[in-house]
């Protein structure tokens, strides 16, 4: 390969965003931050890399192997942030430790992970999300889910499903039926991948009572509205801790008051890969996309690792996945029409004055970088995709509307 060709390559898992899409992505991110602030969340920004130790806590799952690690000049290990929840927990526990609770924070930016799992093939991913710190009730869980529903709707999606579960339900069920912890871990892994074939094989191979096997294998079917909570209660043996189901029931009621129940499905087999979740978890899906659009949950034991014992709940939108869906369905806003401004001999000053005024009025204006005739101006305007041409000549500027092919129609004279 020659030297020039080598310089044209980008590494695996990263991509350039070209005109239109790059702008549309920024607009989408702005829209989401705007909604977060309307709900009272304040944006924080954290460094792109931090000490590795900040990410070691509670991250023993798949994520740990997917971190970008590198040494600094003194040999300490740094990590490109793979997630925003841990940096935000650090910020809340340090700079904002004395702030009144609950604390509402939001963020947006890139995270970096070696490809694999739920993220698809991309290694640099954009997230936008929120954390609600210092409150542990159903209302706060529901606020996060309802906010996710609002953000996806505002982005233009209507056919999405937020599936809602509680990691405690499966934990309690497995404990109550006497599953060994290592089998329980395997079972939860199969649930997280929805590999029901391996789940069935494993559970049926274990020396357990028939009712235990049947209970675990019934969990994938526990999907739907509030009625599945009743079915789930029946699966738990007497004396088992039913708090996770009561929690979900509470959240379900608040979500009804938010008016977003139609977007929510209870899924009691829902397990998220990160093991810092302690209660409610949820993920958002839409047809035609094999990855979650958003996801989150409650993590009441995480902040204590940073010296602050607070309950917390949050979620993040996978901006790239959302953008892909919106692009495929042609739901992204069109870019503003461009106005091309050109001038004949001696009219540069008039043209530049006109451009200043138009831009002040919010128009997108491209000014020609050389004198041109009216015909040349029309050609240049079309070449840069402008649908309107303003041509200044002899002290007068006249606007022409250009159609896509050729020719033009004279319009207003300014």
């Amino acid at each position: 390969m020659n030297e020039i060709l080598k310089r044209l390559l980008t590494p695996e898992g990263v991509r350039d965003l070209l005109p239109d899409l790059a702008g549309q992505k920024r607009k989408l991110e702005e829209l989401m931050q705007e909604i977060f602030s309307r709900w009272g969340y304040r944006e924080v920004s954290t460094p792109a890399f931090e000490y590795s130790v900040n990410f070691d806590t509670e991250m023993k799952t798949d994520l740990e192997e997917n971190l970008y690690r590198f040494p600094d000049e003194r040999g300490r290990t740094l990590v490109l942030r793979p997630d925003f929840t841990l940096p935000l927990a650090r910020v809340a526990a340090t700079h904002l430790a004395k702030e009144a609770k609950p604390l509402r924070l939001c963020y947006g930016g890139s995270i970096f992970r070696y490809a694999g799992g739920l993220q698809g093939k991309q290694r640099e991913l954009t997230q936008a999300g929120v954390e609600l710190l210092g409150t542990g009730n159903a209302e706060s869980d529901a606020e996060i889910v309802a906010l996710a529903a609002e953000v996806l709707q505002a982005a233009g999606l209507l056919d999405f499903t937020l599936c809602l579960g509680n990691v405690g339900f499966l934990d309690n069920l497995l404990a109550a039926y006497g599953f060994a912890p290592e089998d329980g871990e395997k079972i939860k892994h199969f649930f997280s991948k929805k590999d029901f074939v391996s789940l069935r094989e494993l559970v049926q191979s274990l020396p357990l009572a028939k009712d235990a096997v049947e209970a675990v294998l019934a969990v994938p079917g526990l999907r739907g509205g509030a009625e599945v909570l009743e079915e789930a209660r029946k699966l738990l043996p007497p004396g088992a801790d039913k708090t996770p189901l009561a929690t979900l029931e509470g959240i379900w009621a608040v979500l009804a008051d938010y008016g977003v129940s139609r977007f929510v499905t209870l899924d009691l087999g829902m397990v998220r890969m990160l093991n810092y979740y302690t209660g409610m978890v949820f993920e958002g899906y839409t047809v035609g996309l094999g990855y979650p659009l958003c996801g989150g949950g409650r993590y009441d034991q995480l902040l204590v690792n940073f010296g602050l014992d607070l309950p917390a709940v949050g979620f993040a939108v996978s901006v790239d996945h959302l953008l892909t869906v919106l692009e495929r369905r042609k739901l992204l806003p069109e870019r503003k029409t461009l106005l091309y401004l050109a001038y004949g001999a001696g009219s540069r000053a008039a043209a530049l004055a006109a451009a200043r005024q138009l831009r002040k009025n919010g128009e997108n204006v491209v000014v020609s970088v050389q004198e041109s005739t009216a015909e040349e101006a029309a050609r240049q305007a079309r070449a840069c995709g402008a649908l309107r041409l303003l041509y200044c000549h002899g002290g007068k500027c006249s606007e022409t509307t250009l159609d896509n092919k050729g020719g033009g129609k004279d319009a207003a004279v300014k």
Partner: protein
């Protein structure tokens, strides 16, 4: 609420498992008769069930399902292991049972390192990596049994059902990597958003399988 989002598209692998797969759907009350008869058409629509069946090359099924071109797929576990996609594996349809195995020339000492010929380079790589042997994988597209005979490879990794092809080529099966059957897989988005329909179909197939379980 679970949406019963109208239509479901099911991608079926062409080849040896197509017939038994269609019979299984038929046993679940889905009229797949027409699909059996016509062979050039690739898309079949069953209005009354709101089902669309598409026929594709087995190795392409995970891709169709991953991108949501199909909601569900019917394909062998061998293809899924090789494709390494994030699909939900809903059901073991127990069709086309066979083994994915290592085989070498009869009389040779088994694999101590060297060249591995296979249609499944990723599976072979993963399997031998865990054994601390020096090896190199050679990807072939068919007639893998030839490779040891022409000394292209020391061993092969391939599907074995009766072992007849191996025996005819003077090869012996030495290790079983995985037991293979046909699976019903789902796109995660479809599984969630079309939850009700996906579950209904999976349950109908599951009921047929449970009736069949008495048979050997």
């Amino acid at each position: 609420m679970l949406l019963s989002n109208d239509w479901l598209t099911v991608a079926l692998a062409k080849g040896r498992i197509l017939e038994p797969a269609l019979e299984l759907f038929a046993a679940a009350g889905i009229h797949t008769g027409r699909i059996r008869e016509e062979s050039r058409k690739l898309i079949f629509t069953l209005e009354e069930e709101k089902l669309r069946f598409v026929l594709a090359k087995p190795t392409d099924i995970p891709t169709y399902v991953e991108y949501g071109a199909a909601d569900l797929g019917v394909v062998g576990k061998d293809v899924l292991l090789e494709a390494e996609k994030e699909l939900y594996e809903l059901l073991d349809l127990r069709l086309g049972a066979c083994r994915l195995s290592v085989a070498c020339r009869a009389g040779s000492k088994g694999f101590t390192g060297g060249y591995v010929a296979t249609k499944y380079p990723r599976i072979a790589e993963r399997y031998f990596q865990g054994q601390g042997k020096q090896f190199e994988v050679i990807k072939l597209h068919g007639s893998v049994e030839l490779a040891p005979l022409l000394q292209l490879a020391d061993v092969i990794v391939d599907l074995v059902s009766t072992g007849k092809t191996l025996a005819e080529n003077n090869l012996v099966e030495t290790e079983v990597i995985a037991h293979i059957t046909t699976r019903l897989v789902a796109n995660p988005g479809s599984y969630q958003v079309k939850g009700k329909r996906v579950m209904e179909l999976a349950e109908r197939l599951q009921a047929v399988l449970e009736r069949k379980v008495v048979k050997p």
